[in-house]
Symmetry: C2
């Protein structure tokens, strides 16, 4: 059990520490990044420490003008629109361009060396980074990005290839520094029709996951509104597919199994983050539903998207305790159900 965006906005000790610094400044301070990474481990007792960083940090590191505007998101100084812009996307050398990331991860790994807590490295997925580059900032419809994809498929392919290479280089460096799990956040890829994902994005995601094969770290792949993409995301090589709160995990399991049946595949998720703003009896009821649908084995408990800033940290703390306390019984019940499967439901 861990939470996307656990390191951050909803923690008072985070706000106290980060008060002065801009996000992209904070990630470049390894001591601060290490502290912010460890805060939720101390407070919540989660099983994973996701390194405090930002998916656009590698873009800033290779010299692209990008700011993270509070309440809005990443904003580019100059959007990416033509072939000439490719020149701005040079290959990244993590040790030179963002040494602070490795330093922070080494510090986190050292702090957690005697524990079972996983160190989770991450990178932005190629479609999501492309959308920020092409739109110039957050977007509802991703219109410029999709139009580039359809009207200049070769340029789009080259763009995604470079962004995938950036993600791969960053993730490899994070693993070398001590990350024991990696997650590729292609947050906005759910805006695509499955045929578009398969044609234009999947090959690049596969290149990232293939490039990580053999490093011995589980590879998680996550995006929002990806109900129709889950199988393809698994097919791209993920070991764990993150599911947003819209798709019940039992439905998701069924859907990915039609694509990948020949190797172990876990699911991650998927409590609606807004549930955590309700009284704890509601949180408990909904979390248990997620655990049961998750089926015990091969399930990483998480939210279906990031922690909302309004969340009370005590709720997340109680939620972690609940998941720990109730998982063994649910695991046993699910194992017994697998041994004696019930009649299939009418639908």
């Amino acid at each position: 059990v861990w939470f996307m965006r656990q390191a951050g906005r909803s923690l008072p000790e985070y706000r106290a520490k980060r008060a002065a610094a801009d996000v992209l400044e904070a990630v470049r301070d390894p001591e601060l990044a290490c502290e912010l990474t460890l805060q939720p481990v101390r407070r919540y007792g989660v099983d994973g420490a996701i390194v405090f960083s930002d998916i656009v940090a590698p873009l800033a590191a290779i010299g692209l003008g990008v700011r993270v505007v509070p309440g809005r998101g990443p904003v580019l100084d100059a959007p990416f629109r033509t072939r000439a812009d490719l020149a701005r996307l040079r290959p990244i050398e993590p040790a030179v361009d963002m040494p602070w990331l490795g330093t922070a991860i080494r510090a986190v790994a050292e702090e957690l060396a005697s524990s079972d807590v996983a160190v989770i490295g991450f990178a932005g997925g190629p479609f999501t980074l492309a959308s920020y580059l092409v739109e110039g900032g957050p977007s509802r419809d991703h219109v410029h990005t999709k139009t580039l994809m359809r009207t200049e498929p070769e340029l789009f392919d080259e763009l995604l290839g470079r962004l995938a290479a950036l993600a791969l280089a960053s993730l490899r460096a994070q693993v070398e520094a001590g990350a024991s799990v990696v997650q590729l956040f292609d947050s906005w890829v759910g805006a695509l029709h499955p045929a578009d994902y398969e044609r234009h994005v999947l090959p690049h995601v596969r290149a990232v996951f293939d490039g990580l094969a053999g490093l011995g770290v589980p590879r998680i792949h996550f995006g929002v509104a990806t109900g129709e993409l889950l199988g393809l995301m698994a097919e791209a090589g993920a070991d764990v597919v993150g599911v947003d709160w819209r798709v019940p995990l039992d439905v998701a399991r069924h859907r990915v199994r039609r694509y990948v049946a020949d190797r172990p595949l876990a699911l991650q998720g998927n409590l609606d983050p807004s549930v955590c703003l309700a009284p704890f009896e509601v949180v408990e009821r909904e979390a248990l539903d997620v655990l049961r649908r998750g089926g015990g084995r091969g399930h990483v408990f998480n939210l279906g998207h990031g922690v909302l800033p309004e969340t009370d940290p005590d709720t997340l703390k109680r939620l972690v305790a609940l998941v720990r306390e109730r998982s063994p019984a649910i695991l046993a019940a699910c194992a017994s159900e697998r041994a004696h499967p019930p009649e299939p439901e009418a639908r």
Copy 2:
């Protein structure tokens, strides 16, 4: 074939006519509303004329302070947060509170009397209207709305009951004035987990559709990101389920059939609106894919969401012609495939 948001933003003749007026002012001018409704019929040759109005128009009509802010959406003067706010949601009497809507529809129906063009009335779905009321405006996460749903389910139930009654009264009045099809736009309901939709929203949608039964008009139900809700939306009583661009129509057909197998059910959609910004050969390729997946029979061709403002009207005109020209052959091919079904695919 028709297009959601066909009456509007992307038409120069619309911008010319509406230049001066605020949207909620324009909908209250029946002559203007009639003209704006007919513009896309003339220009595109679509099979349906959706009346020019706004889903929040009935809220304004019963005295709620609501403005439609260009580029942002509906904004409430005072958000709905407590039981006391229910008093602001009095029942609507369409003939008294919004006579202009009936007048506009009668004028449209008269203009189209000698044609085969359907007159499409519409209303906002209960969850979507509730979200605007509770959030006070457009929202990405619908946090206040979902929290109200979970912490005060009885109040939420009463709120949705009143909004469903508002939608039903408005739709009945539109049918009486001459609408021959109705669409319930529950645009943001896809933010809910299916269990939440089934428990908190479906009963109210069913009340709307039940209240329209016997009027002899097809009832369309549409929302965005509703991949996991399509079956429940059909079960709620829709005759036509609108599908956003994320779910291939053949997948959608399979999914709804597991819920409703005992009566005819059509699908509407679902070309990605951003496809219409690409060169026409891309539009043609993608539109034919939609037609083929739609399976010919029981398919209303539409976009998967509203027309984007940047869309070239000529593209939509050519798209309508394409759908007309190619449908008979696709219908014939699909009928022949049904007679000689191919081997089921591996996935």
